[in-house]
């Protein structure tokens, strides 16, 4: 028990208003390595912990552009370089006929990139995570909201941080074992 590492301190709340307020005050108090948990997406909550730029859109755009260019180039290369076939004197690079496959490839790669990017940035799949060690945490998929201060935060102090979180009038506070 004495050598056990601590991942962070977790405070539990019972309403979306309370958790947004608590997250905002935690951020204002100078804590930066924090996270919040809610049973459904709350835009204000990610704003409150200072998370503004999630980075999914550029990945999706890159995927879409790759699909678009790759899809067209494949058809162009096949029909003009690799195996040109003269059908009734039509141009080899008959690009209007290639638009549909190009479009479908744009959508396919853009969509897959958006999802793969979202999972990658979120670090999923991740079979183990310390937060699941806290028994109350299973309430996060029901009706409970949480604010977590990581022990790696420069301001983190086992006593001080706990006192601060208690000041936010949470439903409960738990130490998260790593």
């Amino acid at each position: 028990m004495k050598d056990e590492k601590i991942y962070g301190l977790m405070a539990e709340f019972v309403s979306p208003e309370a958790v947004v307020e608590a997250a905002r005050r935690t951020y204002q108090a100078g804590y930066r390595k924090i996270d919040a948990y809610s049973p459904f997406p709350i835009e204000e909550l990610s704003e409150a912990i200072g998370f503004h730029n999630n980075g999914v859109a550029p990945i999706c755009l890159t995927g879409g552009l790759l699909g678009c260019i790759g899809g067209f180039m494949l058809q162009w290369w096949i029909n003009t370089i690799n195996y040109p076939v003269n059908i009734g004197g039509r141009p080899y690079n008959s690009w209007p006929a290639f638009i549909i496959v190009t479009f479908e490839m744009t959508i396919l790669f853009g969509g897959l990139a958006a999802v793969a990017g979202m999972l990658m940035l979120n670090g999923l799949p991740q079979p183990y995570h310390p937060v699941f060690n806290v028994p109350q945490f299973s309430g996060v998929t029901r009706d409970r909201f949480f604010v977590l201060v990581f022990s790696t935060d420069p301001q983190y102090d086992p006593v001080e941080t706990r006192r601060f979180l208690e000041g936010l009038s949470p439903h409960s506070i738990a130490e998260v074992p790593a």
Partner: protein, 459 residues
Amino acid sequence: MVQAIEVEPGENKAPVMASGHTFGSITDKVSAMVLTRPLTKGWIFGFAICFLILQWMLYAMCWLFFKGVGVWGVNIPIGWGFAIVNFVWWIGIGHAGTLISAILLLLRQSWRNSINRFAEAMTLFAVACAGMFPIFHLGRPWVFYWLFPYPNTMNYWPNFRSPLVWDVFAVSTYGTISLVFWFVGLIPDLATMRDHAEKKWIKTVYGMLALGWRNSTRHWSRYETAYLLLGGLATPLVLSVHTVVSFDFAIGIVPGWHTTIFPPYFVAGAIYSGFAMVLVLAIPIRKFYHLEDFITPRHLENSAMVMLATGWIVAYGYAFEAFMNWFGGDQYESYVRWNRIHGPYAPWYIALLMCNILIPQILWWRKVRLSNFWLFMISMDILIGMWLERFVIVVVSLHRDFLTSSFGMYYPTQFDWAIFIGTLGFFTACMFLFLRLLPAVPIFELRSLLPEAKAVEHE
């Protein structure tokens, strides 16, 4: 006047969710459908029947593999027959699922949130049914991968100028994106199932599927962006898929096919039949799973209104098709019009007009839109009507084209029927399994519909 401004439009409509629910009660009610609900006799009986029908299809498919497509009624001049009729019909049904999940997401229609999950599942299973037909129609289905461009020793490539190859790309992209969209929507709910399951092995299975989702607000933020982007990409995709399907016909020169009205008219018809299928599924599901709180009369009525609107677009398509046949002055096109009304398939065409245009007009009455029984019956009627439409487009156009010497008739065999009805069994068996194993209503989206959740957003 002041009063009138304050009244929200649609205030007299039924709510999207019954009142009195909390975050917890929604979670419990939906997860209980899977986790604590015992196997009922009704479920076992229904699944068994569908499974038997599926076996009938497998028998017919074995015979088809063994003997070749000759076991079907297809022959020159009607080479397309039931396989393509069913393909177009099924893929059209899938479109409503994507419409609900993607287009209504972009339009911020909150009534989509309780029906989108099973509508997306419906899309997936419908696309799976649709995909079978062109593959089996290939004649040599075991080399279906020749349709994709891959380097091979034959130095062979697909013909990218052919609408049939466009179709391969459109349908496979559509299937993939629908699957991804559906799975991404499921991830947070799989985490809910993981946390609410009692048995260890059930927890493990849902836990693996949930990928370790923990409702972190950073994750939610990326999740919402990815979901919205997928919705934005799926919207043009769904419109393109039936457009490309209609190109299979419109690019050809067969009278009755070679027309520019096909893309919009096919897309509208797809949504028309898709919403009919949504209602055919939603009405029994809400009754047997007691989901009246989440699938309210509002959902049913809105779906009925979408059917009414798309039904009129389809009617416009029929009218304009007939007008252009006459106005174009082409004798073969004129003959198509005459042949549809007076030829050997006239009863099918008349039945199609009845099912798709005449009967659905009773949806103008609000009482009908609010009656489960009548909505169900009209939806079945539309499904039949849309199937007949595809039959008329495929068979009636092909059976008499330019030369009287190549006129013919199409008679479906027992194998045509077995595979068609078999896919219905496959589809419903998949729906039964889906309802049993996965949360059929998106739990986290319902939570965010509650007024308590809204209080934050308006702060």
